[in-house]
Symmetry: C2
Subunit: 359 residues, 2 copies
């Protein structure tokens, strides 16, 4: 097991990364109060809920469970309210802990609920997908979707601890494993060319779910994100680099409807569009663009999106949170493995980069 | 005009207190971005919306307005969502300002919406009731009610600035003026016996809405609260003193249904119950209890509540946020003008104190 500490001053917390971890021993110091609400979904509950219930009951805590339907389309205010209902019906008070057991959607919703319930209670994350292990574990972003935009309503809420157990990835569907690898690749592309070489060496093992390789990929991704977040918790500056591929990806997800494409799939194609635009701007070489596409393809991810009318694509992009004073900013690559946030790009070239990677 | 600065480090902000203030000049430095969402209600909008719209438009900002129905019963997740709808339909991005124009309900909802929209945008408060001027202006508590409890869902969100204009109190209904005076009296009872003497001298003028006296009462109340909040922003300790009368008061409000009694009315009777229990415990004298009742009566506030079955009253009290590890804590008076947070009280005496002040 490796332990990574996310350095956020008094909100410093550990991420435990390994295979077949012991939740009772690891989580004991981080559960506050006598009451623990486990928020999970209908897919994860039959697989792992009992395991965590047993561990937490052995710590003498009283447990309530809120099981939501599985899927991004339930990440809305109505289902958020079900968590509040569960907390209040079970008589939870301010001194309690909310534990998210599931993927990114559950982490986002349980985290946001814990930020708002009684104006903030304690929060622990047990991410059960590769995507949430590398992405949602670090950074404290929580929230829900709105019909007019993704993650439009939320809070920054740091967990007390995160437990990332590779053994739980064995039950993950292929598509979701790949979606997680999209975010892993993102860290390589945005700031670590050495990690890109490592991924090119080990992608076959990662796709075959070698737990030691997965743990290393999760550790390196989280460490990278943790460094950025520690410098810029509230996304005033460099944290926006983490959105490589996301502005394009959000447009794809929004147009298709939440949950049709997985977030990681949309980000994968979004990264191709960002790389393509970076190439058209003369910042990266044709080989760099090809290298980007190849590693994405090897992770079984899409490098082009379905046909979307350009005006609608652009409209969804302009709803993105990175619009500042009406001006679109994009995360692009100055060189392969080195991303920048910029508004200095030709709109015509951007449109070409979008259309070139659409079916 | 007096300016009070609430000292919260980098979240330091001013409260402007006076008569017929100039919003254009005062608010200009505190409005961020080009977009301003004014959240108000159907009672306040016809009276003051145009005035603020003109001032903000003169600053070259683009304005959208979200007008909610008036009343505590609308302080729920459904109406909160209307603010999010308005923000997204108007195309607001992360760099915008939400301005609350109204009483405590509008301040709580607009503040909470500004805390959650895009995980946090800028917030300005223009409280138009005495209660919200003395209470909601300081402390950053925002939120909504849940059918199972008041203010159960929310966030700490500090405004950029607060503008408290006494001239707007001339349109306030009598009952709401009195409800505001309840919170003013609270500051005297919990920590400032000198202020209690001042109130005893000037209560007639306050009830007649003398704007200079009101401004002084608002200033002293806000200054008192600001000192406490600066020491204890997240209510770990002494900030709980501000809940004098509130645990009893919440039970009254919850039983009667939100909005039947005004918050300040319930707090007034709650303070009588707290004083009564403090007397039964031998902490304050019979004359202190009478002095408490008298100043409350002179503000045209109720000193007893309607008949409520004791078991229901107690059940509502136990839902209060001040329950810690299942143990009820109350704010009581060690002596008149000096409150403490305590769990050291006889439950039997507490029940007597409740019943003694019930019809």
């Amino acid at each position: 097991m490796q332990t990574l500490h996310v350095e956020l001053g008094e909100r410093r917390y550990p991420i435990f990364i390994g295979n077949k971890l012991d939740p009772q021993a690891l989580l004991e110091p981080y559960i506050h109060g006598r009451q623990v609400m486990i928020v999970t979904n209908q897919t994860v509950a039959p697989l792992y809920l009992q395991h965590y219930q047993n561990a937490i009951e052995a710590l003498g805590k009283s447990i309530a469970v809120c099981t939501l339907p599985d899927g991004e389309k339930y990440k809305n205010i109505k289902h958020l309210n079900l968590i509040f209902d569960a907390l209040l019906e079970a008589g939870f008070n301010r001194d309690c802990t909310v534990l998210a057991l599931g993927g990114g959607v559950i982490g986002d919703m349980a985290g946001f609920a814990s930020a708002c319930f009684q104006r903030g209670v304690y929060f622990i994350q047990v991410p059960t997908t590769l995507l949430s292990q590398v992405d949602s574990s670090v950074g404290g972003k929580t929230g829900i979707n709105h019909p007019l935009g993704k993650n439009m309503i939320g809070a920054f809420q740091q967990p007390q601890a995160v437990l990332a157990d590779m053994s739980q990835l064995n039950t993950l569907p292929e598509r979701e494993l790949s979606a997680g690898l999209a975010e892993v690749i993102k860290y390589a592309l945005l700031g670590d060319i050495g990690f890109l070489a490592w991924l090119e060496e080990h992608m076959d093992g990662l796709v075959k779910r070698d737990s030691a390789l997965l743990a290393e990929a999760v550790y390196r991704s989280c460490a990278h994100k943790a460094r950025i977040v520690a410098n810029d918790e509230k996304e005033q500056g460099e944290r926006a680099l983490l959105n490589l591929g996301h502005t394009f990806g959000h447009a794809i997800e929004s147009y298709l409807g939440y949950g049709v494409w997985l977030h990681g799939e949309a980000v994968a194609t979004g990264m191709v569009m960002a790389a393509d635009l970076s190439h058209r701007l003369g910042w990266i070489a044709a080989e760099d663009l090809e290298r980007t596409k190849k590693i994405i393809l090897r992770a079984n991810l899409p490098i082009r999106c379905p046909k979307i009318p350009l005006d609608e694509f652009l409209a969804y992009m302009s709803h993105d949170k990175k619009v500042l004073n009406g001006q679109l900013r994009l995360v692009l690559m100055k060189q392969l493995g080195q991303a920048v946030i910029t508004k200095e790009f030709d709109t015509e070239l951007m449109q070409q980069a979008i259309l070139a990677n659409m079916q």
